[in-house]
């Protein structure tokens, strides 16, 4: 079907106008508003002790979530793609749940298990471990919401490459580990890389679940996204914009890496 020239142009203009109005102009405006007061003010605003601490907490939590979800994501992908057992659909559904559940509900669920009145609340308090309103709670929330990304990227790749090479390696006497390191891992590396980028972006940007369990103590349990909200609530608009611009810059970088990886993945 060949669309007539006027129709083609109309659709092109409509599509781009929609993206401009909904995405690009707002994001561009944030950068403009951020740098309106001058680059010195922005620098001061993202190097306050609270901002620096929020930045490092965000990095720390994201790093843990990425490592844990990558390792276990590959394990789950192997179970889904290579295992022969009943009830796979159930595991498939459970893995998708974090995508469909409200982040606020995720935060609440952690409070109901690990909070002071939670299932394990008293035992944890007796052991002197604080999960909710502390870093472990933020980590658990972030791990929950980012759980599906690596599995969802790696499973189809594993199915695609099949297990012929793995079986050949096994017949030739390779151990399970050798087969994994030399055959399986190299063939899924771009899938893993893409999943890691998605996990990182979501972990850095997570707000709802973290907001419920963090307690928002400045300098201790405040992540970058929480800092944005607090500054906005305290009428520090310039500060909120500066922290947002930092997060948006990280997002744009993520997008760049995603595009590059996607190309590599398709070539592979």
């Amino acid at each position: 079907m060949t669309v007539s020239r006027p129709w083609q142009l109309t659709m092109r203009v409509l599509a781009i106008a929609w993206l401009l109005a909904l995405l690009l102009v707002p994001v561009a405006l944030i950068f403009y508003r951020t740098f309106e007061p001058g680059i010195g003010a922005v620098w001061d605003s993202i190097t306050t002790p609270a901002a620096i601490s929020a930045f490092w907490l965000t990095i720390e939590v994201s790093a843990i979530a990425v490592v844990v979800n990558t390792v276990l994501g590959v394990v789950m992908a192997l179970a889904l793609a290579r295992g022969r057992w009943r009830g796979k659909w159930l595991m498939d559904t459970v893995i998708d749940l974090p995508f469909a559940i409200s982040p606020v509900v995720v935060g609440l669920s952690l409070i109901l298990v690990y909070g002071t009145t939670g299932w394990f609340g008293r035992d944890l308090a007796d052991a002197g471990i604080q999960v909710i309103f502390s870093t472990p709670g933020i980590v658990l929330a972030t791990v929950f919401v980012t759980l599906p990304f690596v599995v969802r990227e790696v499973t189809p790749v594993l199915r695609e490459v099949g297990d012929d090479q793995e079986q050949a390696a096994a017949t030739l006497g390779a151990s399970g580990w050798q087969t994994f390191w030399r055959i399986t891992l190299p063939s899924i590396r771009w899938g893993i890389a893409y999943g890691v980028v998605l996990t990182t972006a979501r972990a850095i940007g997570e707000f709802g679940a973290v907001s419920v369990v963090s307690g928002k103590v400045s300098g201790e349990t405040e992540t970058l996204t929480l800092l944005v909200e607090k500054r906005f609530a305290n009428f520090d608009l310039a500060g909120a914009y500066a922290a947002s611009a930092l997060l948006a810059a990280i997002a744009l970088l993520t997008l760049l890496v995603m595009t590059t990886f996607n190309r590599r993945r398709e070539e592979a």
Binding site: R12, A15, W18, M76, A79, R202, G205
Partner: protein
């Protein structure tokens, strides 16, 4: 044959069982245990309290608005997403690669930043003079922003694969563009459009970060269920919050199941 098959199967099965065991344990601890806590503890105060919490006027109003605005989001996405996918697949223009990359921006951008961003352009200090902050329309706008990639990314690959010969055959038999689109292209895309819209709906129902700043959280007006749950947690009513969460969870699970069925239908359509 069986002599060779036996030894080479063994390692695969053993590592498979290990992977299955670890996966089950991990999912149980991280996902199922907390969700079970929400369901079980929503009944801590008995069935009466549960019912009171989910049938309170504010809870019902919030849920009603959440479902309606999410349906609107899904419907608008179905149209704009298909349009964007069409332009990205069938059109050629300079800068198309950049546009294609930018589609994923909402997935990469933190939701709280998305909300602040929309507030800057369409809020009280709007340089365009458009101020929709704290209205139901603002909630719709935020949801459209964060769900924008779903339909595009689900339709795009299908549109690339659509059999152009079918279209050419129809045209050579005298069918108009309209007929070709409605009778050949659209039926091929429909499963993808619906599953993308379903994902957008599921995401919209639970969305929190992008809405919290721009909605103003006005009860009976712009308050969505996730924000209502958040308020309940903050006012130290976790059991009531759990009850409302169960309803929201139920909606998510149903939508997820429908998308799964749709996927199967789409796969059959392919054959």
């Amino acid at each position: 044959m069986s002599v060779i098959a036996l030894p080479r199967r063994r390692p695969a099965v053993r590592s498979g069982a290990l992977a299955l065991g670890i996966s089950t344990l991990w999912l149980s601890v991280i996902v199922l245990l907390p969700l079970a806590a929400v369901v079980v503890r929503s009944l801590d105060g008995g069935v009466g309290d549960f019912w009171d919490a989910v049938s309170s006027r504010q809870a019902v109003a919030a849920l009603r608005f959440t479902i309606l605005v999410s349906l609107a989001t899904a419907a608008i996405n179905a149209v704009t997403g298909t349009l964007l996918a069409w332009v990205l697949v069938r059109d050629r223009f300079p800068g198309k690669k950049v546009v294609n990359a930018l589609i994923d921006l909402p997935f990469a951008l933190p939701t709280i930043v998305a909300g602040l961003t929309l507030l800057a352009l369409y809020g009280p200090n709007s340089p365009l003079g458009i101020d929709v902050a704290f209205t139901q329309f603002a909630v719709l706008l935020a949801l459209l922003f964060v769900t924008q990639p779903f339909v595009v990314r689900s339709v795009q690959p299908v549109l690339i694969e659509v059999d152009r010969e079918m279209e050419e055959a129809a045209i050579s038999l005298g069918a108009s563009n309209r007929t070709v689109f409605l009778r050949i292209i659209l039926p091929n895309l429909l499963p993808a459009i619906l599953s993308g819209a379903g994902l957008a709906f599921a995401r919209a129902v639970g969305e929190f970060g992008s809405i919290v700043l721009i909605s103003g959280n006005v009860p009976f007006d712009t308050q969505v269920s996730s924000v209502y749950i958040f308020k309940l947690i903050e006012s130290d009513a976790p059991i009531g919050a759990a009850a409302v969460s169960v309803v929201l969870l139920l909606v998510s699970v149903i939508v997820l199941a429908l998308i799964r069925l749709l996927g199967r239908w789409g796969a059959r359509h392919d054959r």
